[in-house]
Symmetry: C2
Amino acid sequence: MKTYLDCIPCFFKQALFAARAAVDDEARIKAVLDKIGMLVSEIPLNSSPPETGREVYRTVREVTGVDDPFRDLKAKSIDKALALYPTLKHLLGEAKDPLKTAVRLAIAGNVIDFGANPDFQLEQDIQEVLQKEPAINHYQAFKEKLARAQDIVYLGDNAGETVFDRLLIETMGKPVTFVVRESPIINDATEEDAISSGLDNVAAIVSSGCDAPGTVLGGCSELFLAHFNKADLIISKGQGNYETLSQEKRPVFFLLKAKCPVIARDLGVKVGDVVIKDALPSK
Amino acid sequence: MKTYLDCIPCFFKQALFAARAAVDDEARIKAVLDKIGMLVSEIPLNSSPPETGREVYRTVREVTGVDDPFRDLKAKSIDKALALYPTLKHLLGEAKDPLKTAVRLAIAGNVIDFGANPDFQLEQDIQEVLQKEPAINHYQAFKEKLARAQDIVYLGDNAGETVFDRLLIETMGKPVTFVVRESPIINDATEEDAISSGLDNVAAIVSSGCDAPGTVLGGCSELFLAHFNKADLIISKGQGNYETLSQEKRPVFFLLKAKCPVIARDLGVKVGDVVIKDALPSK
């Protein structure tokens, strides 16, 4: 997905949120925004938003001197999600179609943006996503392709959401490579976060090699690209991965909730809609 | 009111909205945002948001070559409001306390941001403001001070809203000087808009001399300042006038709906709240 002009005000909003998480010093936070201002003319609209997001967060780190402003929030998010794990595991045990419920739960995990909205109504959001009919619903195709898949790559998104990913991977019962970001960026899951979520028990954890809040293939490691290129099923969680991979001709399923108007428009859905999208639907 | 850091992303949002109203050329619109980016480091946080707003819209005008991107929208707004005028006049004729209803209607006019949201539910918004208890309600003080006032200055805000201002001025039945912006800025009312709304029949129309989307006293004309300084009652409509005058020790009543979180926080109310605020409340 390209960068839309509407993304530009949003970069400033995100920078402000991250700078405030990093320091409590108005002049320093303003200095972050000043520097992002200088970046605007260099934003190429034909790149994806996470490519600029990477520069935005790099600026936050440089000006504030804080490498991982969301470290505490991520740890709390994982703890919160782990506390729910037994209840959700039980829910899956009782489900008529456990895979379907696990897919929905994995999307519910994405709904919960621990970074932007730490005070969400967790249980309520889960109920909503479990009940809401996805606006794009390629679940049947997902189920069929998953049954035949031998080599699955699962692209993670936020810390905390990772516990929900773990539930889906456990339900799928297939060998999975779980992909994390190379270094801390917003509240995206790193290797450390994946391990804290217990993902190392159910998947091989691999870094994408990329430090953008998405999967920018041009900036990924050879190791990751080897996995990506030979996988027969790729599960892509969240907006950032969609933004960077929506044009790729690979067997990707995008699982996400459309949380911003730009992505909703790009997908042809409404803000708040749940999406299970096959990147290569059969004719 | 000072400029909060949260105003900075919003300046970009407003610039984008205005640039899109001006031209249909993505590269040109991007050029507007690039130039606003360069301005960020020059924004003094101790100035009011409309002072930066003026620079933002100046940039839009310079880069797009369009002096008044909201001209058509303003004309439509006034037409829509004039079409409602007879119904609202009838409503006032039947009201128990016509002044109270007229004050509420004038705030309803401010609710309707013709610029940002041209597809509002006009009748529904009016009903809501008529029924909703203001979060800050100095109506009684307003009524008493109005009864004694000899020299009233009324600071207008948006085009269209001006028709609602006319209804309040007719209901007050006192000589009023109605103040407009010196030149087009967003959808703020200019002299032309005030005349189209019929305000010239019920008030003397005076320009503030200021081309910011508020009343920046340091940039106002001598003529306006003479009016402002001798008035014994000043009615200030909308957010922009509040932002520029909230610190002044003058007999001002602020009538507005808090439409943004920054102003709501500054006032100590919630977004969506209706406000009738006496700047110099009695002890």
